[in-house]
Protein backbone atom coordinates (compact mmCIF):
# COMPACT_ATOMS: atom_id res chain seq x y z
CA UNK A 1 0.00 0.00 0.00
CA UNK A 2 1.67 3.23 -1.13
CA UNK A 3 -0.40 5.67 0.75
CA UNK A 4 2.22 8.14 1.92
CA UNK A 5 1.14 10.98 -0.36
CA UNK A 6 -2.58 10.29 -0.30
CA UNK A 7 -4.94 13.12 0.40
CA UNK A 8 -8.70 13.13 0.65
CA UNK A 9 -10.14 16.48 -0.35
CA UNK A 10 -13.73 17.68 -0.38
CA UNK A 11 -14.63 20.98 -1.97
CA UNK A 12 -17.78 22.92 -1.27
CA UNK A 13 -19.97 19.88 -0.70
CA UNK A 14 -23.70 20.17 -0.43
CA UNK A 15 -26.25 17.52 0.36
CA UNK A 16 -29.99 17.73 -0.18
CA UNK A 17 -32.11 14.84 1.00
CA UNK A 18 -35.83 14.67 0.52
CA UNK A 19 -35.92 18.35 -0.43
CA UNK A 20 -34.21 19.34 2.82
CA UNK A 21 -30.79 20.94 2.79
CA UNK A 22 -28.63 18.86 5.12
CA UNK A 23 -25.38 20.78 4.71
CA UNK A 24 -23.68 23.03 2.20
CA UNK A 25 -20.34 24.71 1.64
CA UNK A 26 -18.52 21.87 3.37
CA UNK A 27 -14.81 21.58 2.60
CA UNK A 28 -12.05 19.62 4.26
CA UNK A 29 -8.73 18.00 3.56
CA UNK A 30 -7.32 14.90 5.14
CA UNK A 31 -3.73 13.76 4.78
CA UNK A 32 -2.43 10.19 4.91
CA UNK A 33 -2.07 8.84 8.42
CA UNK A 34 -4.77 11.10 9.78
CA UNK A 35 -8.31 10.58 10.92
CA UNK A 36 -11.27 12.91 10.66
CA UNK A 37 -13.89 12.51 13.33
CA UNK A 38 -17.34 13.74 12.36
CA UNK A 39 -19.46 14.94 15.23
CA UNK A 40 -22.79 16.69 15.42
CA UNK A 41 -26.37 16.23 16.49
CA UNK A 42 -28.65 13.56 15.04
CA UNK A 43 -29.59 14.50 11.52
CA UNK A 44 -26.65 16.86 11.07
CA UNK A 45 -25.52 14.87 8.03
CA UNK A 46 -22.68 12.69 9.35
CA UNK A 47 -23.97 9.53 7.69
CA UNK A 48 -24.91 11.43 4.54
CA UNK A 49 -21.39 12.80 4.23
CA UNK A 50 -19.88 9.33 4.67
CA UNK A 51 -22.24 7.89 2.08
CA UNK A 52 -21.35 10.67 -0.33
CA UNK A 53 -17.65 9.90 0.04
CA UNK A 54 -18.42 6.21 -0.47
CA UNK A 55 -20.30 7.04 -3.67
CA UNK A 56 -23.54 5.66 -2.23
CA UNK A 57 -25.34 8.98 -2.18
CA UNK A 58 -25.47 11.60 -4.88
CA UNK A 59 -23.20 14.58 -4.31
CA UNK A 60 -25.61 17.44 -4.84
CA UNK A 61 -22.87 20.02 -5.25
CA UNK A 62 -19.11 20.15 -5.01
CA UNK A 63 -16.65 17.29 -5.45
CA UNK A 64 -14.69 14.70 -3.54
CA UNK A 65 -11.33 13.41 -4.64
CA UNK A 66 -8.59 11.17 -3.38
CA UNK A 67 -5.39 12.80 -4.57
CA UNK A 68 -2.36 10.59 -5.06
CA UNK A 69 -4.48 7.46 -5.23
CA UNK A 70 -4.80 4.99 -8.06
CA UNK A 71 -5.92 7.10 -11.05
CA UNK A 72 -7.74 4.09 -12.50
CA UNK A 73 -10.02 3.79 -9.50
CA UNK A 74 -12.72 6.03 -8.07
CA UNK A 75 -12.81 7.10 -4.43
CA UNK A 76 -15.36 4.37 -3.63
CA UNK A 77 -13.14 1.59 -4.96
CA UNK A 78 -10.33 2.71 -2.66
CA UNK A 79 -12.56 2.92 0.39
CA UNK A 80 -14.10 0.56 2.91
CA UNK A 81 -17.46 1.54 4.33
CA UNK A 82 -18.95 0.27 7.58
CA UNK A 83 -22.46 1.63 7.96
CA UNK A 84 -25.46 1.04 10.18
CA UNK A 85 -26.59 -1.97 8.17
CA UNK A 86 -24.26 -4.87 8.72
CA UNK A 87 -24.52 -6.48 5.26
CA UNK A 88 -24.30 -9.94 6.79
CA UNK A 89 -26.11 -13.08 5.66
CA UNK A 90 -27.52 -15.12 8.56
CA UNK A 91 -26.79 -18.49 6.98
CA UNK A 92 -23.15 -17.83 6.14
CA UNK A 93 -20.56 -18.58 8.80
CA UNK A 94 -18.17 -15.94 10.11
CA UNK A 95 -15.20 -17.25 8.17
CA UNK A 96 -17.25 -17.78 5.00
CA UNK A 97 -18.37 -14.17 5.20
CA UNK A 98 -14.81 -12.90 5.45
CA UNK A 99 -13.57 -15.24 2.69
CA UNK A 100 -16.37 -14.09 0.39
CA UNK A 101 -15.60 -10.41 0.90
CA UNK A 102 -11.88 -11.10 0.57
CA UNK A 103 -12.52 -12.81 -2.76
CA UNK A 104 -14.95 -10.19 -3.94
CA UNK A 105 -12.76 -7.23 -3.00
CA UNK A 106 -9.59 -8.87 -4.31
CA UNK A 107 -7.79 -9.32 -1.01
CA UNK A 108 -5.02 -11.88 -0.47
CA UNK A 109 -6.23 -15.38 0.41
CA UNK A 110 -4.71 -15.43 3.90
CA UNK A 111 -6.24 -12.05 4.83
CA UNK A 112 -9.49 -13.66 6.02
CA UNK A 113 -7.64 -15.37 8.86
CA UNK A 114 -5.82 -12.16 9.77
CA UNK A 115 -9.17 -10.38 9.80
CA UNK A 116 -10.55 -13.01 12.20
CA UNK A 117 -7.72 -12.27 14.63
CA UNK A 118 -7.99 -8.49 14.26
CA UNK A 119 -11.44 -8.51 15.86
CA UNK A 120 -10.92 -11.62 18.02
CA UNK A 121 -13.45 -13.63 16.03
CA UNK A 122 -11.38 -16.82 15.68
CA UNK A 123 -13.42 -18.77 18.31
CA UNK A 124 -16.60 -17.96 16.37
CA UNK A 125 -15.18 -18.72 12.92
CA UNK A 126 -17.51 -21.58 12.01
CA UNK A 127 -20.63 -20.19 13.62
CA UNK A 128 -23.41 -19.01 11.30
CA UNK A 129 -23.97 -15.27 11.51
CA UNK A 130 -27.56 -15.92 12.62
CA UNK A 131 -26.28 -16.94 16.07
CA UNK A 132 -24.07 -13.91 16.66
CA UNK A 133 -24.95 -11.17 19.13
CA UNK A 134 -25.24 -7.54 18.01
CA UNK A 135 -21.72 -6.76 19.21
CA UNK A 136 -20.28 -9.84 17.52
CA UNK A 137 -21.97 -8.88 14.26
CA UNK A 138 -20.49 -5.43 14.51
CA UNK A 139 -17.06 -6.94 15.09
CA UNK A 140 -17.53 -9.06 11.96
CA UNK A 141 -18.53 -5.97 9.96
CA UNK A 142 -15.38 -4.25 11.19
CA UNK A 143 -13.21 -7.30 10.48
CA UNK A 144 -14.16 -6.83 6.84
CA UNK A 145 -11.88 -3.80 6.83
CA UNK A 146 -8.92 -6.17 7.00
CA UNK A 147 -9.85 -8.63 4.23
CA UNK A 148 -8.58 -6.39 1.45
CA UNK A 149 -6.20 -3.45 1.83
CA UNK A 150 -7.90 -0.18 0.96
CA UNK A 151 -6.45 3.17 2.08
CA UNK A 152 -9.62 5.00 3.08
CA UNK A 153 -11.90 3.77 5.85
CA UNK A 154 -15.36 5.29 6.22
CA UNK A 155 -16.86 4.31 9.56
CA UNK A 156 -20.34 5.21 10.67
CA UNK A 157 -20.61 4.83 14.45
CA UNK A 158 -18.11 1.97 14.49
CA UNK A 159 -18.25 1.48 18.26
CA UNK A 160 -22.01 0.91 18.52
CA UNK A 161 -22.85 -2.30 20.43
CA UNK A 162 -19.18 -3.01 21.22
CA UNK A 163 -18.02 -3.85 24.74
CA UNK A 164 -15.04 -2.09 26.34
CA UNK A 165 -12.50 -4.71 25.26
CA UNK A 166 -13.73 -4.56 21.68
CA UNK A 167 -13.62 -0.76 21.63
CA UNK A 168 -9.98 -0.94 22.73
CA UNK A 169 -9.30 -3.49 20.00
CA UNK A 170 -11.02 -1.26 17.46
CA UNK A 171 -8.85 1.64 18.54
CA UNK A 172 -5.66 -0.42 18.06
CA UNK A 173 -6.98 -1.61 14.71
CA UNK A 174 -7.63 1.95 13.55
CA UNK A 175 -4.31 3.24 14.92
CA UNK A 176 -2.46 0.52 13.01
CA UNK A 177 -4.25 1.54 9.82
CA UNK A 178 -3.27 5.18 10.33
CA UNK A 179 0.32 4.22 11.16
CA UNK A 180 0.48 2.35 7.85
CA UNK A 181 -0.47 5.55 6.05
CA UNK A 182 -4.22 5.00 5.82
CA UNK A 183 -6.99 7.54 6.18
CA UNK A 184 -10.08 7.29 8.34
CA UNK A 185 -13.27 9.31 8.33
CA UNK A 186 -15.45 8.26 11.25
CA UNK A 187 -18.76 9.52 12.56
CA UNK A 188 -19.02 8.94 16.26
CA UNK A 189 -20.54 10.15 19.49
CA UNK A 190 -17.89 8.38 21.49
CA UNK A 191 -14.31 9.61 21.87
CA UNK A 192 -12.28 6.89 20.19
CA UNK A 193 -9.04 8.44 21.47
CA UNK A 194 -7.14 8.37 18.19
CA UNK A 195 -3.81 10.20 18.18
CA UNK A 196 -3.87 11.81 14.75
CA UNK A 197 -7.49 12.88 14.71
CA UNK A 198 -9.08 16.16 13.72
CA UNK A 199 -12.69 16.93 14.43
CA UNK A 200 -15.25 18.19 11.94
CA UNK A 201 -18.38 19.38 13.65
CA UNK A 202 -21.49 19.37 11.50
CA UNK A 203 -24.14 21.78 12.67
CA UNK A 204 -27.76 21.30 11.96
CA UNK A 205 -29.06 23.32 9.04
CA UNK A 206 -32.75 23.79 8.90
CA UNK A 207 -33.42 24.93 5.39
CA UNK A 208 -37.14 25.31 5.58
Amino acid sequence: MTTSDLRLAAHDLACIRGGRLVFEGLSFELAAGHALVLTGANGAGKSSLLRQIAGLLEVTEGRIELQGGDPELGVAEQAHYVGHLDGLKPMMSVVETLRFWGGFLGGPAEAADAALDAMALAPLADLPVAYLSAGQKRRLSLARLAVAPRPLWLLDEPSVALDAASVARLKDFMSAHLAAGGLIVAATHLDLGLAMAAELRLTREMAS
Binding site: A54, G55, L56, L57, E58, A76, E77, A79, H80, Y81, G83, H84, L85, D86, G87, L88, K89, M91, M92, F100, W101, G103, F104, L105, G106, R144
Partner: protein, 225 residues
Protein backbone atom coordinates in the same frame (compact mmCIF):
# COMPACT_ATOMS: atom_id res chain seq x y z
CA UNK B 1 -12.43 -8.84 -11.59
CA UNK B 2 -12.96 -12.47 -12.54
CA UNK B 3 -12.33 -13.54 -8.97
CA UNK B 4 -14.87 -11.02 -7.69
CA UNK B 5 -17.43 -12.22 -10.25
CA UNK B 6 -16.96 -15.88 -9.34
CA UNK B 7 -17.05 -15.11 -5.62
CA UNK B 8 -20.37 -13.29 -5.98
CA UNK B 9 -21.82 -15.98 -8.24
CA UNK B 10 -20.85 -18.74 -5.80
CA UNK B 11 -22.24 -16.82 -2.83
CA UNK B 12 -25.57 -16.11 -4.52
CA UNK B 13 -26.02 -19.70 -5.64
CA UNK B 14 -25.23 -20.91 -2.14
CA UNK B 15 -27.60 -18.45 -0.50
CA UNK B 16 -30.44 -19.18 -2.91
CA UNK B 17 -29.99 -22.93 -2.76
CA UNK B 18 -29.90 -22.93 1.03
CA UNK B 19 -32.72 -22.67 3.53
CA UNK B 20 -35.16 -19.85 2.85
CA UNK B 21 -33.44 -18.95 -0.40
CA UNK B 22 -36.44 -20.06 -2.42
CA UNK B 23 -34.49 -22.12 -4.96
CA UNK B 24 -36.41 -25.36 -4.44
CA UNK B 25 -39.65 -23.46 -4.09
CA UNK B 26 -39.86 -22.61 -7.80
CA UNK B 27 -39.69 -26.28 -8.79
CA UNK B 28 -42.42 -27.21 -6.32
CA UNK B 29 -44.57 -24.36 -7.60
CA UNK B 30 -44.01 -25.49 -11.20
CA UNK B 31 -44.98 -29.01 -10.20
CA UNK B 32 -48.14 -27.85 -8.46
CA UNK B 33 -49.30 -25.57 -11.25
CA UNK B 34 -48.84 -28.23 -13.92
CA UNK B 35 -50.31 -30.98 -11.75
CA UNK B 36 -53.59 -29.11 -11.24
CA UNK B 37 -54.13 -28.61 -14.98
CA UNK B 38 -55.55 -32.13 -15.55
CA UNK B 39 -57.86 -31.51 -12.59
CA UNK B 40 -59.09 -28.32 -14.23
CA UNK B 41 -59.51 -29.44 -17.84
CA UNK B 42 -60.30 -33.07 -17.20
CA UNK B 43 -58.16 -36.15 -17.83
CA UNK B 44 -58.93 -36.32 -21.54
CA UNK B 45 -55.63 -37.43 -23.12
CA UNK B 46 -55.84 -35.70 -26.53
CA UNK B 47 -56.87 -32.43 -24.85
CA UNK B 48 -53.97 -32.64 -22.41
CA UNK B 49 -51.57 -33.42 -25.23
CA UNK B 50 -52.81 -30.34 -27.04
CA UNK B 51 -52.44 -28.13 -23.99
CA UNK B 52 -49.19 -29.59 -22.72
CA UNK B 53 -46.57 -27.35 -24.39
CA UNK B 54 -48.44 -24.17 -23.49
CA UNK B 55 -49.17 -25.22 -19.91
CA UNK B 56 -45.57 -26.28 -19.33
CA UNK B 57 -44.24 -22.96 -20.57
CA UNK B 58 -46.77 -20.87 -18.67
CA UNK B 59 -45.95 -22.82 -15.52
CA UNK B 60 -42.26 -22.25 -16.16
CA UNK B 61 -42.70 -18.49 -16.60
CA UNK B 62 -44.73 -18.15 -13.42
CA UNK B 63 -42.31 -20.29 -11.42
CA UNK B 64 -39.32 -18.28 -12.52
CA UNK B 65 -41.09 -15.06 -11.47
CA UNK B 66 -41.53 -16.42 -7.98
CA UNK B 67 -38.00 -15.83 -6.75
CA UNK B 68 -37.26 -12.81 -8.92
CA UNK B 69 -38.08 -10.01 -6.50
CA UNK B 70 -35.37 -10.97 -4.01
CA UNK B 71 -32.60 -10.87 -6.61
CA UNK B 72 -31.37 -7.44 -5.50
CA UNK B 73 -33.75 -6.59 -2.69
CA UNK B 74 -32.24 -8.94 -0.12
CA UNK B 75 -28.81 -7.37 -0.56
CA UNK B 76 -30.18 -3.82 -0.56
CA UNK B 77 -32.13 -4.37 2.65
CA UNK B 78 -29.24 -5.74 4.68
CA UNK B 79 -26.65 -3.28 3.36
CA UNK B 80 -24.62 -5.81 1.36
CA UNK B 81 -25.45 -3.96 -1.80
CA UNK B 82 -23.65 -0.82 -0.59
CA UNK B 83 -20.50 -2.89 -0.24
CA UNK B 84 -21.04 -4.72 -3.53
CA UNK B 85 -21.35 -1.41 -5.35
CA UNK B 86 -18.00 -0.27 -3.89
CA UNK B 87 -16.23 -3.39 -5.15
CA UNK B 88 -14.20 -3.88 -8.30
CA UNK B 89 -17.17 -5.09 -10.34
CA UNK B 90 -19.25 -2.59 -12.29
CA UNK B 91 -22.95 -2.87 -11.40
CA UNK B 92 -23.57 -4.36 -14.85
CA UNK B 93 -21.42 -7.36 -13.97
CA UNK B 94 -23.00 -7.60 -10.53
CA UNK B 95 -26.33 -7.88 -12.39
CA UNK B 96 -24.88 -10.56 -14.69
CA UNK B 97 -23.66 -12.58 -11.70
CA UNK B 98 -27.02 -12.29 -9.96
CA UNK B 99 -29.01 -13.17 -13.11
CA UNK B 100 -26.76 -16.15 -13.73
CA UNK B 101 -27.16 -17.32 -10.14
CA UNK B 102 -30.94 -16.96 -10.48
CA UNK B 103 -30.85 -19.10 -13.60
CA UNK B 104 -28.70 -21.80 -12.00
CA UNK B 105 -30.93 -22.01 -8.94
CA UNK B 106 -34.33 -21.49 -10.59
CA UNK B 107 -34.16 -21.97 -14.37
CA UNK B 108 -32.00 -25.07 -14.51
CA UNK B 109 -34.01 -27.15 -11.98
CA UNK B 110 -37.19 -26.22 -13.87
CA UNK B 111 -35.70 -27.51 -17.11
CA UNK B 112 -34.76 -30.76 -15.40
CA UNK B 113 -38.24 -31.13 -13.88
CA UNK B 114 -40.04 -30.41 -17.15
CA UNK B 115 -39.94 -33.89 -18.76
CA UNK B 116 -41.50 -35.44 -15.67
CA UNK B 117 -44.33 -32.96 -15.92
CA UNK B 118 -44.52 -33.57 -19.66
CA UNK B 119 -45.40 -37.20 -18.95
CA UNK B 120 -48.08 -35.99 -16.56
CA UNK B 121 -49.64 -34.01 -19.41
CA UNK B 122 -49.33 -36.83 -21.96
CA UNK B 123 -46.71 -35.04 -24.04
CA UNK B 124 -45.40 -37.40 -26.79
CA UNK B 125 -41.99 -38.81 -25.72
CA UNK B 126 -40.46 -37.86 -29.06
CA UNK B 127 -40.92 -34.18 -28.27
CA UNK B 128 -39.19 -34.36 -24.86
CA UNK B 129 -35.70 -33.55 -26.19
CA UNK B 130 -37.16 -30.50 -27.94
CA UNK B 131 -38.98 -29.41 -24.82
CA UNK B 132 -35.82 -29.63 -22.75
CA UNK B 133 -33.65 -27.99 -25.37
CA UNK B 134 -36.12 -25.14 -25.86
CA UNK B 135 -36.35 -24.59 -22.11
CA UNK B 136 -32.59 -24.78 -21.70
CA UNK B 137 -32.14 -22.15 -24.39
CA UNK B 138 -35.06 -19.98 -23.30
CA UNK B 139 -34.78 -19.91 -19.49
CA UNK B 140 -31.66 -17.69 -19.28
CA UNK B 141 -33.68 -14.97 -21.02
CA UNK B 142 -36.23 -15.17 -18.19
CA UNK B 143 -33.56 -14.51 -15.55
CA UNK B 144 -31.83 -11.71 -17.47
CA UNK B 145 -35.05 -9.92 -18.45
CA UNK B 146 -36.35 -10.47 -14.95
CA UNK B 147 -33.29 -8.76 -13.49
CA UNK B 148 -34.51 -5.45 -14.92
CA UNK B 149 -37.89 -5.86 -13.23
CA UNK B 150 -36.23 -6.88 -9.98
CA UNK B 151 -33.95 -3.83 -10.12
CA UNK B 152 -36.81 -1.43 -10.89
CA UNK B 153 -38.84 -2.64 -7.92
CA UNK B 154 -35.92 -2.90 -5.51
CA UNK B 155 -37.25 -0.17 -3.25
CA UNK B 156 -40.86 -1.31 -3.28
CA UNK B 157 -42.22 -3.33 -0.41
CA UNK B 158 -43.83 -6.48 -1.77
CA UNK B 159 -42.33 -5.55 -5.10
CA UNK B 160 -42.70 -9.07 -6.43
CA UNK B 161 -46.16 -8.41 -7.78
CA UNK B 162 -45.12 -5.20 -9.47
CA UNK B 163 -42.02 -6.89 -10.88
CA UNK B 164 -44.24 -9.63 -12.33
CA UNK B 165 -46.50 -7.10 -14.00
CA UNK B 166 -43.51 -5.30 -15.47
CA UNK B 167 -41.70 -8.39 -16.63
CA UNK B 168 -44.43 -10.74 -17.91
CA UNK B 169 -45.13 -8.82 -21.14
CA UNK B 170 -41.46 -9.15 -22.02
CA UNK B 171 -41.63 -12.91 -21.48
CA UNK B 172 -44.20 -13.29 -24.28
CA UNK B 173 -41.67 -13.81 -27.12
CA UNK B 174 -39.97 -16.54 -25.09
CA UNK B 175 -43.37 -18.15 -24.53
CA UNK B 176 -44.37 -18.00 -28.20
CA UNK B 177 -41.17 -19.46 -29.59
CA UNK B 178 -40.77 -21.90 -26.72
CA UNK B 179 -44.22 -23.34 -27.33
CA UNK B 180 -43.59 -23.13 -31.08
CA UNK B 181 -40.53 -25.34 -30.85
CA UNK B 182 -42.35 -28.04 -28.91
CA UNK B 183 -45.49 -27.94 -31.06
CA UNK B 184 -43.47 -28.12 -34.26
CA UNK B 185 -41.69 -31.16 -32.90
CA UNK B 186 -45.03 -32.71 -31.90
CA UNK B 187 -46.44 -32.05 -35.37
CA UNK B 188 -43.56 -33.92 -37.01
CA UNK B 189 -41.67 -30.87 -38.22
CA UNK B 190 -38.53 -31.60 -36.20
CA UNK B 191 -36.31 -30.45 -39.01
CA UNK B 192 -37.27 -26.94 -40.04
CA UNK B 193 -39.97 -25.37 -37.88
CA UNK B 194 -38.58 -26.58 -34.56
CA UNK B 195 -35.11 -25.47 -35.51
CA UNK B 196 -36.33 -22.02 -36.46
CA UNK B 197 -38.16 -21.60 -33.18
CA UNK B 198 -35.06 -22.72 -31.28
CA UNK B 199 -32.91 -20.23 -33.15
CA UNK B 200 -35.35 -17.44 -32.31
CA UNK B 201 -35.24 -18.48 -28.67
CA UNK B 202 -31.45 -18.39 -28.76
CA UNK B 203 -31.56 -14.92 -30.28
CA UNK B 204 -33.93 -13.67 -27.57
CA UNK B 205 -31.71 -15.11 -24.86
CA UNK B 206 -28.57 -13.53 -26.31
CA UNK B 207 -30.30 -10.17 -26.59
CA UNK B 208 -31.56 -10.46 -23.01
CA UNK B 209 -28.06 -11.29 -21.75
CA UNK B 210 -26.69 -8.26 -23.60
CA UNK B 211 -29.37 -5.74 -22.62
CA UNK B 212 -30.78 -6.97 -19.31
CA UNK B 213 -27.72 -6.22 -17.12
CA UNK B 214 -27.39 -2.72 -18.61
CA UNK B 215 -31.02 -1.98 -17.79
CA UNK B 216 -30.77 -3.48 -14.31
CA UNK B 217 -27.61 -1.52 -13.46
CA UNK B 218 -29.11 1.73 -14.75
CA UNK B 219 -32.25 1.16 -12.66
CA UNK B 220 -30.22 0.39 -9.54
CA UNK B 221 -28.09 3.52 -9.97
CA UNK B 222 -31.13 5.71 -10.49
CA UNK B 223 -33.05 4.32 -7.54
CA UNK B 224 -30.41 3.83 -4.91
CA UNK B 225 -28.32 7.00 -5.13
Amino acid sequence: MRRAFLALLARDIRLAAGMGGGGGMAVLFFLTVVAIVPLGVGPDRPVLELLAPGMLWVGLLLASLLTLDRMFQADVEDGSFDLLSMGPLPLELVAVAKSLAHWVVTGLPLVIAAPVLGILLNLPPATMPYLMLAMLVGTPALSFIGAVGAALTVGVRRGGLLASLLVLPFYIPVLIFGVGAVEAAAGGFEGQAARQALLFLAAITLAAIAIGPLGAAAALRAILR
